[in-house]
Symmetry: C2
Subunit: 366 residues, 2 copies
């Protein structure tokens, strides 16, 4: 078992990564002070529930914990206020109290939704994350939780740190291939923003990663989490540095919104967004090989690097207006300087962004 | 102008209390760093909007601020997730960004709703409170914000401190008599829990207060806010001491819930709840005159001290099960020791509470 500590003062917490970890959920819950008096809530989605819910419920019961479960439909559509209210209903009917905990068993959608429930149920209760996707290595660090508004993604949320993250790499074996690839998008991103060596490690071991080699996977997840934890430790509430984690996200979120949060997986949209950021860097005269190298890394992990031709540039531009990175009328972008290094560029002209989006639609030549 | 500082470390903020203060909203907003670049949101209700919305909008515009407004129906029913989502829609369509502020212009309902919007819009933006009711002297201190779940009050919320509270006592002149009385309920409570002198001051000046004498009113609001601020400074997130502010609230919230959040005003329900707490104290052998004195104070301010005979004891008891003070299966009550002093009593037998609720329904004899 690898243990990575996320340093956030009195909100610090460990991420446990390893094979067979799910079996330790009872012991780890006791270790982290989860109450055996109160009832706790397990939130998961249909897909994950079919594989692991019964197991987690039984393990918790064996360890002496009372739980109720709420299963939401799989997919981004569950990050709505309507589903949020249904989960709250289960929590209230289950008589959860202030000493209760909410367990997120699933990927980013479940983590964000359950985390926002934990952040706001009775003004905040304990939160535990049990990621079951590769992508969730990203969302399980940093405490950002949210639901979507019909007009924009992650618009309603909070900062709420878990007390522990339990990452059992065995649960990743049941992921569909498309989710596996999409999951590596944020991992590559962590290399691209801060760690050139790790970015090229991802490229070198792309086929091992896609084959879910447990050793490589555990290392990649730990390194990805560690880079994110380092950034978040310096800037918990996104006052400055933390913004670099948004590489590819401004365009990526717009792609997701225009696709109705169903057509593109988050990791796929971010992949295209990161290509866009590299194009923006090129147009600003930074690094000649940046775009080529970025595409190579993403393609090695079977990630998309072009925007399908039927996607409307106008719709993408319009969706971007609602982005949280759009502060005080200026457009803020994270732009790579080179592989492993980015900077925050304010006052990016909207026209430069439009050119990039148009270019993302062109048939790739390289 | 009286200024009271609520001490909460880097979340400290001032409460300005006085006559004609609304006219200073522009200057005070500039003083507190509200951005002239971003658009801000004013949330208010129909009743308050008819008196003050145009004025506040104009004053803000004159000071160079851009605002959008959202008017919700008056009353507790606006503290719903559905109305919350509508306010969020206005915020997004108004292109509020991370440097925006949400202004709550109104009473407790507007403050709680707008505060929860401020706490969660883009994971938290600046919050400004402009209370227009007496009751709001209570909710404007301490940063508790929330909406209701159909099954229980204030179940979905956060702790989110305002950057300033602007309390113009002139706005209280348009309050209906019933709201005036209900507003003094929390003021008396602040005396009952911590300040015997202030409790008797409220009794002595009850008729001046009901007549909205500006000097007496400003003193009463300042003292009420100060007592609450003192408690909150010691325990921002209700780990211990802060619980004493819940005097009368366990029974009171149940009364509101059973009345469908429309029949009883919050202050009225709390008034009956505080009589219940005094009865509980009596049954525990505390203070002989406590119940008599408590009733005298509340009646002097035209507050109800009995539960109407058609209210079901079973329904009240059932509603109490969902209360946040019901931790790990035990029933926690704030019970007065004497006027100006209370203690937190855990493990109160449910049957003792039922007896109190039954007694609250009996025709008063004294």
């Amino acid at each position: 078992m690898r243990t990575l500590q996320v340093e956030l003062g009195d909100r610090s917490y460990p991420i446990y990564i390893g094979s067979g970890l799910l079996n330790q959920i009872g012991d780890l819950s006791i270790k982290h002070g989860i109450s055996v008096q109160s009832t706790h809530l397990i939130v998961t989605d249909e897909q994950v529930a079919s594989h692991y819910l019964k197991k987690v419920e039984n393990l918790m019961a064996e360890a002496g914990f009372k739980t109720v479960s709420h299963v939401v439909p799989s997919g981004e559509s569950s990050k709505s206020l309507a589903v949020f209210e249904q989960v709250m209903t289960t929590a209230i009917q289950g008589k959860l109290d202030r000493s209760s905990a909410v367990f997120a068993l699933g990927g980013g959608v479940v983590g964000d939704l359950a985390g926002f429930v934990a952040a706001t149920y009775m003004r905040g209760v304990t939160f535990v994350q049990i990621p079951t996707t590769i992508l969730a290595h990203d969302s399980s660090v940093g405490g950002k939780v949210a639901v979507n508004h019909p007009l924009a993604k992650n618009m309603i949320g909070a900062f709420h740190q878990p007390v522990m993250v339990l990452y059992d790499v065995d649960t990743l074996s049941t992921l569909p291939a498309r989710d596996v690839s999409a999951g590596f998008s944020e991992m590559v991103k962590h290399g691209l923003i801060l760690d050139k060596t790790f970015a090229y490690w991802c490229l070198e071991h792309a086929s091992d990663l896609l084959a879910l080699d447990k050793e490589k996977l555990a290392y990649g997840l730990e390194r990805g989490c560690a880079i994110k934890a380092e950034v978040v430790s310096h800037d918990e509430r996104e006052g400055g540095l933390r913004a670099i984690l948004n590489l590819g996200h401004t365009i990526g979120h717009a792609i997701e919104a225009v696709g109705g949060y169903g057509r593109f997986l988050h990791g796929e949209a971010i992949s295209i967004g990161m290509v866009g950021s590299a194009m923006l860097a090129e147009s600003l005269g930074r690094g000649e090989t940046l775009l080529h190298e970025t595409k190579k890394m993403l393609r090695a992990l079977n990630l998309p690097v072009v925007l399908p031709s039927d996607v409307s540039v106008d719709e993408i531009m319009d969706a971007m207006q609602h982005d949280k990175k759009f502060t005080e009328g200026r457009m803020v972008f994270i732009v790579p300087d080179e592989i492993g290094k980015v900077s925050i560029v304010k006052d990016v002209p909207v026209e430069a962004v439009r050119s990039v989006v148009e270019k993302l639609k062109e048939e790739e030549q390289q």
